[in-house]
């Protein structure tokens, strides 16, 4: 347990150090800036509508997946590139604990940046209109979405050298493209978190209902889906680490 915590703590620091973090942090704050500047002359109702037509979309469709892709693919991918996987795997630690620690660090790092962006978006609406009700739902949505992205992108980073390319393909071709086809909507990641948000902010369904497709709104269901997918990710990666050569 202490070893897994050590891996998580070191990995979290490693993921968030360097210039890259400033760039990703700036990216995460773009929706909040757009929200704050764009809603300067709006009424509360119009600002609420604007949030769901613009900044929230940018946060969910672009900012969250890009930041998750960059950081989560690095979590194990960097260990492999730096040849430090053996440093972790020749320890008396079960492989699943390494994966959980790495995944937790990646999720915490992604959530630190994207969550800050979501918090800032909610705060921008609150500062302009006094409506702070979207802050918690935004954080819940981001928490669930980033969890699922991490469950996908951590293994991707370990298995493929071109993980970034494959991940971008997944996000922009599958998740935001092909998965819009009726019937395929439950298979897209962003809709899982979005369903939680709409479940917590029912009046947002007027603006986001079409994006959700056939997915049923609800935070509990979304959280369960997120946790199940994360568990599948851990099991799959543990199997890979046990069966495949580590270096």
């Amino acid at each position: 347990m202490r070893a897994a915590l050590a891996i998580a703590a070191v990995s979290y620091r490693q993921l968030l150090e360097g210039k890259r973090t400033y760039l990703l942090g700036a990216l995460a704050l773009i929706p909040a800036v757009v929200m704050y500047v764009g809603s300067s002359t709006m009424t509360e109702a119009r600002a609420f509508e604007f949030l769901h037509e613009g900044p929230l979309g940018v946060l969910v469709f672009a900012v969250a997946p890009i930041i998750a892709l960059v950081l989560a693919t690095s979590a194990l991918g960097e260990e492999r590139r730096q040849s430090t996987m053996s440093f972790l795997t020749i320890r008396p630690i079960p492989r699943w604990a390494i994966i959980v620690a790495k995944g937790a660090a990646a999720w915490a790092a992604v959530f630190t940046l994207v969550g800050a962006g979501g918090l800032a978006v909610g705060a921008a609406l609150g500062l302009r209109t006094g409506n702070w009700d979207t802050v918690t739902p935004l954080l819940v949505m981001i928490g669930i979405n980033t969890l699922v992205y991490v469950a996908l992108f951590v293994p991707l980073g370990f298995l493929f050298k071109r993980a970034m390319l494959f991940g971008l393909g997944y996000v922009f071709i599958w998740d935001s493209g092909i998965a819009n086809v009726p019937g395929l909507t439950p298979l897209s990641v962003f809709r899982i978190g979005l369903s939680a948000y709409i479940g917590l902010v029912p009046e947002s369904a007027r603006f986001l209902g079409d994006d959700l497709g056939s997915v049923t709104p609800g935070a509990g269901g979304a959280l369960a889906k997120g946790l199940i997918l994360a568990l599948i990710g851990v099991l799959a990666m543990t199997t890979v680490l046990k069966r495949r050569d580590v270096v």
């Binding site: 070893a3 730096q82 795997t89 008396p92 580590v246 270096v247």
Partner: protein, 311 residues
């Protein structure tokens, strides 16, 4: 009973282990064991040394066969990793970490409570205490190698796997590390050192396993390996007075394969080194020739190894 590839009280056992990557066979049905002391694993690049070490460490799974360390399959029982230290060939360090933090991290991952003191002790052993708080990214290759050795020592493992541990070190550091490895062997540790630099292995290993093309080509100490190569005549350099007469006496003998007279010495190739010694003793006594040197030329690890690779 033991044969040269096996030891009496093994800590590491490799049984018919093979490893292939697609069509390429990296290790082919290797059986051997390792015990206390230093064993040198020799072979040219691509011989399969690193793959065999990875199989031993559980970093790679054998395609066939089994590998155990202290009776355990490491891949099935990660707890046994407490007894294993590894210095990988690659630069497996985190460039942003200081040497001290790198070792403390390793100690924490191995479940040691006294990590900080052990880390400093390990850095002292490899003579890096003064650089403890410098980041590894700014270290020279030799310093990184020593840091990796320290990281392997920090848990005080029973079995140490060292893959080209002296790469990039200067002669003074090399001598120091060889001394460290010898001390560990004297303390009863199993030390397996892979290298393609023969002189290094010759200086530190009590026992040698030579690998060629993924197979075990020879095992034992250098002299016994050489002696077992009966199809290759021994080469001896002889110095003394009246060497031409000695050469003409020897050339007539059927067990002498070749005689080459040089400026200061005569070089003899013979199938049986001890028989040659006896004949030369008789000839020199009868002809009153005084010898000043009788030196086997190919009992060095380098020549033995050259023969093995050429085979």
């Amino acid at each position: 009973m033991t044969t040269p590839a096996f030891v009496a009280d093994p800590t590491v056992e490799v049984e018919r282990a093979s490893k292939w990557f697609g069509q390429k066979v990296a290790v082919s049905s290797v059986s051997c064991s390792f015990g206390q002391g230093i064993t040198g694993l020799l072979g040219p690049n691509g011989a399969g040394k690193t793959t065999l070490l990875r199989l031993i460490c559980g970093l790679a799974a054998p395609s066939e066969g089994t590998v155990t360390v202290l009776g355990e399959d490491l891949r099935r029982n990660p707890d046994s990793y407490r007894q294993l230290g590894l210095v990988p060939e690659e630069d497996a360090v985190y460039p942003q970490m200081t040497a001290r933090r790198y070792l403390e991290y390793g100690a924490r991952l191995s479940g040691l409570a006294d990590g900080p003191s052990r880390a400093m002790e390990a850095l002292r052993v490899v003579d890096l205490v003064e650089s403890a708080d410098r980041t590894l990214g700014g270290f020279s290759k030799g310093m990184r190698q020593r840091t990796k050795v320290a990281a392997a020592l920090v848990t005080d493992p029973q079995v140490l796997i060292l893959d080209e541990p002296l790469n990039g070190t200067d002669p003074v550091q090399r001598a120091h590390l060889i001394e460290v490895f010898r001390r560990l062997a004297a303390d009863g540790k199993t030390v397996i050192v892979s290298s393609h630099v023969l002189a290094e292995v010759e200086r530190m290993a009590d026992r040698v396993l030579a690998m060629v093309d993924g197979k075990l080509a020879a095992a034992g100490d250098v002299h016994s390996i050489r002696a077992a190569m009966s199809d290759i005549p021994f080469r001896v350099r002889i110095e003394g007075n009246d060497l031409r007469r000695l050469a003409s006496e020897l050339v007539a003998r059927s067990d002498v394969a070749a005689v080459e007279v040089g400026k200061d010495a005569v070089h003899i190739e013979a199938e049986d080194l001890s028989a040659l010694g006896r004949h030369i003793a008789i000839i020199t006594r009868d002809l009153d020739i005084r010898l000043t040197a009788f030196q086997p030329e190919d009992e060095s690890l380098e020549s033995v190894f050259r023969y093995l690779v050429r085979r």
